[in-house]
Amino acid sequence: MSTADLSDMRFQELAAGFALGDLTEAEMQEIKSIDPSNFQSMAEKSEEAAARAFLTFQGSLGNEILPIGLANRLKSMAVGFLSDSELAYAPKPSAMVAPSAMSLREATAWLCMAASIALALCIWLPNLGPSGNKIAVNIPQQRDLLIAQATDLVQSQWEPASKDDTQRERGSIVWSTVTQQGFMTLRGLAVNDPTKEQYQLWIIDPARDDKPIDGGVFDIDNEKESVVPIQAKLRVGKPTLFAITVEKPGGVVVSDQKRLPLIAKVQ
C-alpha cells in the first residue's frame, strides 16, 4: 500500500500515534504496509513536536538531579564507552591487581608508577568517580573504604562451583546496593590469556528478574590475590548469588556456564 492509498489524515494520525506511543497492534500492522521512508519522515516530525511540547511544558527547566548511584554508573559507563571507542582494536585492559607479595623495590616502583598514573588521570578525568575502571591504584583501598562506610554491606565468600576443586580459601566479595559498588577479592584463580578467554562476573538478583546481571569482564594476572571492582551493567537490588564464568574475550550476553570456577552465595 502506498501513502497515497491512505487518507492524509489517517497517515498523520498514525504518525502522531507513533510519537505518542499509543498505537494498537492493528495500527502497527497498518504502518508496516506504508512506504517506510514517508512514514519515518512524518513520524520524526511528530516526535520532534512532542519533544518540543515536553520541553515547553517543562518550562522551569526541571528541578531534579540524578540519584548519586545512577550518576556514578553513568560516569563508569562513559569511561567504558570511550575506552571501547579508542581501544576497539587493542587488547582489553588487564584487571586491577593489587600488589600482594612483591619485593620492597618492586612495590616502590609500582607505587611510583601508580601515583604517576593517578595524577595523570586526576588531571585528565577530573570528574571520574570511584567506580571508574581505569584507576588501578586505589582499588584495595576503595574496597576497604566501602567495607568501613557502607551501611548495607553484603559480604560473601567465594567457593568452588565444582566439588572436585578442593582449594578452600578463594577470597570474598562485598557489595553495597545503596552505592551500587562492590569488589571481588580473588585468590587462587588461574591466570588467563585475555586474547583467548576472560573471566566474567554474573549477579543473580531474583527480586529483579530471572536473568543474571552482567557484572563485568576482567582478567587475572596473579594467582595469589587480585581485587577487582564490580561493574554491574544494570541496577542491582538484592543479590543472592555471584558467579564467575570463563568466556570468550569481551564476554558474552548469555553464558552457557560451561566453565564456572567460583560462586559466592549471599546468606
Binding site: 498523520q12 494520525e13 502522531a16 500515534g17 510519537a19 505518542l20 506511543g21 499509543d22 520524526e44 516530525k45 511528530s46 516526535e47 520532534e48 513536536a49 512532542a50 519533544a51 518540543r52 511540547a53 515536553f54 520541553l55 515547553t56 511544558f57 517543562q58 518550562g59 527547566l61 526541571g62 528541578n63 531534579e64 538531579i65 540524578l66 540519584p67 548511584g69 545512577l70 550518576a71 554508573r73 553513568l74 560516569k75 559507563m77 562513559a78 564507552f81 570511550l82 571507542s85 579508542e86 585528565w124 578525568l125 577530573p126 570528574n127 529483579r208 551493567k233 544494570l234 541496577r235 537490588g237
Partner: protein, 198 residues
C-alpha cells in the same frame, strides 16, 4: 520572557554542543553530556517508568544511545535538547511497549533524587519554547490538556480517561489531533522563518 532572556544571555555565549563533542569522542564530553542532560532525561524516565529501578535502567540505555547517535545531531535542524528529548522519549516508549501493555505509570513515585536546577542550555530552549508555546497556546484547551498529561506527565490514555471522565477513544483522538496541529503549527513557523528576509 525578558527575565528568562536575561538569565540565558551569559549561557548563550558559553553554549557548546555536548553531542558534537561526544561525536568526536573528546575525553570529557560524555561527562558534559551527563551533566547537561542528566536531569532532563531523569525527569522523562521517571514519568514513563513504573519504578525507580526501571527508570534508572532506562536512563542508562538512553545515554548509551545518545552517545552512539551523537554524530546524527544536526544543530541546523533542532536544538540539542530537542534531539535528546526525542531519543529519550522514543526509547522510553519502546521500553514501555515491551514491558507490559497494561502497565500503568503511577503518580505515587518515591524517588530519592534531590532538588536542583536542570542544566539544559536555556538559550536553545527559549528559541524553540517560544515557538512551541505559541503553538500550544493556539490549541483548544482540551487538546492542550490531554497533550500535557500524555507528553509531560507520562499518563496513560486510560488514566487520562479516568481523570477527565471522557471516553478512551476520545482521549486518543484528542491527543493525536492535538499533536498533529502542534506539528503543523511548528512547521509553519519553520517555513515562515526560512522565507523571512534577514
Amino acid at each position: 520572557m525578558s527575565t528568562m532572556l536575561e538569565v540565558a544571555l551569559p549561557r548563550i555565549q558559553a553554549a557548546e554542543s555536548a553531542l558534537a563533542r561526544v561525536a568526536l569522542r573528546e575525553p570529557d564530553s560524555l561527562n558534559l553530556c551527563i551533566e547537561r542532560y542528566g536531569s532532563l532525561v531523569w525527569c522523562l524516565a521517571k514519568r514513563y517508568s513504573p519504578s525507580q529501578a526501571d527508570a534508572e535502567d532506562a536512563v542508562q540505555e538512553i545515554f548509551l544511545e545518545l552517545w552512539q547517535k551523537a554524530d546524527r545531531f544536526d544543530a541546523s535542524l533542532s536544538a540539542e535538547s530537542t534531539f535528546v528529548t526525542m531519543i529519550a522519549r522514543r526509547r522510553l516508549i519502546d521500553r514501555f511497549r515491551k514491558q507490559a501493555r497494561s502497565m500503568e505509570t503511577t503518580a505515587e513515585y518515591d524517588f530519592d533524587g534531590q532538588s536542583a536546577s536542570v542544566s539544559v542550555d536555556a538559550a536553545e530552549l527559549i528559541d524553540e519554547a517560544a515557538k512551541a508555546t505559541r503553538c500550544l497556546d493556539g490549541l483548544q484547551a482540551n487538546h492542550k490538556d490531554v497533550l500535557r498529561r500524555s507528553i509531560h506527565e507520562g499518563q496513560s490514555h486510560s488514566q487520562i480517561s479516568d481523570e477527565l471522565k471522557i471516553p478512551l477513544g476520545s482521549v486518543k483522538s484528542l491527543a493525536r489531533r492535538g499533536l498533529i496541529q502542534l506539528r503543523e503549527c511548528m512547521e509553519r513557523f519553520s517555513l515562515s522563518r526560512a522565507g523571512a528576509p534577514s
